[in-house]
């Protein structure tokens, strides 16, 4: 919706047209509004700068900008630099490994749960729905804690799995929580397809299972790819919960261990925070890009978007 008149907009009006972030809530700002906005921004900027200066002064007062605290993280010539970044790399690798295994397992198990829910009758699917509600209602940190408790107090042997027991405590906990969310994403993907897709498949002689396997699921997976990527962000963030419980050494826990040796919590958490933000931001952009592509060419035209944080599908 343009805020300028559709007929022959003057050059000035076009230049003043709001940027894509703007909405219909306001007109293209005129000279007064622009001046007001500028003054307002200036005052705001001065306030922000003042707060930052106070914060920086206080941090400096406490010696948080001393080279010794930052050097192991930023100065390649520091004696600890290589070792520190090697450890951060290991932690990051462990985070990524746990997240990827958990998302792949969730995808497989979630698809099975979704197919069960879709194919069982009204009564038959009651236990499936109950399981979904149960696992969705539990906080993921509690799920991981329960898995941890079962494995440690009953000495469940997970050693035969590659990667070690601690990795699998985290992976199983994350999978339990995420498989039901993925199941709902898959279901939303299948339900969002036009009915004709299944009807045409049955008309050419495919059975119900064949139609699901070779017609419906492949389309559903493509449609829900963006949601899957956003769910990966959630899983990546959730791997850090194990650092509150103990065992697996992922990125955040690795940071905690580094802090014990270097004694610079603020600096290490800044670096680790930036790493998380960079990875998740990139994934978020990737999800948006895939979404744009698939909404351009999907069979249904209605791409269900699932909010990664909450796991709710909105079609």
């Amino acid at each position: 919706m343009s805020t300028t008149t559709p007929k022959a907009p003057s050059r000035r009006a076009r230049r003043a047209a709001p940027d894509p972030g703007a909405t219909v809530l306001f007109d293209a700002p005129g000279p007064v509004a622009r001046r007001n906005a500028f003054v307002f921004s200036l005052v705001g900027a001065v306030l922000v700068v003042a707060v930052v200066v106070v914060a920086v002064l206080r941090l400096a007062d406490r010696g948080q900008f001393k080279g010794a605290l930052w050097a192991p993280l930023l100065d390649p010539s520091d004696k600890d630099f290589q070792q520190v970044w090697k450890l951060i790399g290991t932690g990051l690798g462990n985070t990524l490994r746990a997240a990827v295994i958990a998302i792949v397992l969730s995808l497989v198990i979630g698809t099975v749960i979704a197919l069960l829910r879709l194919s069982l009758g009204r009564v038959g699917r009651v236990p499936v729905v109950a399981l979904i509600e149960l696992l969705r209602g539990l906080p993921v940190v509690i799920t991981i804690l329960l898995v941890y408790t079962v494995v440690t107090s009953y000495r469940v042997n997970l050693g035969f799995l590659p990667g070690g027991r601690d990795l699998w405590i985290l992976v199983i906990g994350l999978t339990l929580y995420n498989c039901v969310i993925i199941a709902e994403i898959v279901r939303a993907g299948v339900v969002s397809l036009p009915r004709g897709q299944r009807e045409a498949a049955l008309a050419v002689g495919l059975t119900n299972q064949q139609a699901m396997r070779s017609i419906l699921l492949p389309q559903a997976f493509r449609v829900m790819l963006p949601s899957l990527i956003s769910q990966l962000i959630v899983v990546l963030k959730d791997t850090s919960l194990i650092s509150l419980i103990g065992g697996y050494i992922e990125l955040l826990k690795q940071g905690g261990l580094l802090i014990q040796n270097l004694g610079n919590p603020i600096q290490v958490y800044v670096v680790i925070g930036i790493i998380y933000i960079l990875i998740n931001y990139t994934l978020g952009k990737l999800a948006e890009y895939v979404q744009r592509r698939s909404s351009r060419s999907s069979a249904s035209g209605r791409v269900p978007i699932v909010d990664g944080a909450t796991g709710t599908a909105t079609v």
């Binding site: 921004s41 940190v141 509150l244």
Partner: protein
Amino acid sequence: MSPVLDNLDLYWSGFLKSLLICIYAMVGALLLGTVLAAFRVSPVPTLRWVGSAYVTVLRNTPLTVVLFFLAFGLPELGINQSFYTFGVAGLIFYTSAFVCEAVRSGVNSVAPGQAEAARSIGLNFTQSLTVVVLPQALRTVVPPLGSVIIAMFKNSAVVGAFGVGSDLYSVGKQLSSAQGLPALPVYVGSALGYLVITLSAGLALAVIERKVAIVR
């Protein structure tokens, strides 16, 4: 299950404490998130920029990292509070980014004609936002906003694990490690407490959704 039944009073106080964390965080996150959403749709570019920077940073950082940041960073700035305050504040900061996005999507879903009509009868930006657009936007965002809040209720367990003391998570920890009760039933007891919170919130959400839904 006797470790749970013998300590029902402890669980009850833990449940109330967790519920209190949820309620504080819900009110705080809704207020802060709505203000941020107003930032993101405002005509002032700087405010839009601040809003989107906040959302980008807070949405992509794990809640655990946010909590560690507050607990280690703020004391260095001379702000000393209990872990409880830091925990609730961290939950508010983290959740408000998601609330902001939900509310913003609602603002975008209000028909442009509404805002145009508001402007044409002479309302300014603040008036048209608060009197015309936001009331409608808030009704359309009840489902996504509700999911954000339920996710926040679940995240309150992270605040508990962070060590605020005497909430549902801490009760489980206390009973299993200090009193040496078998860990699994004890933690199942805590989990049941959270289930009561999240499932009843889900039911309440469904009721509210039916009441306020706008048919377009």
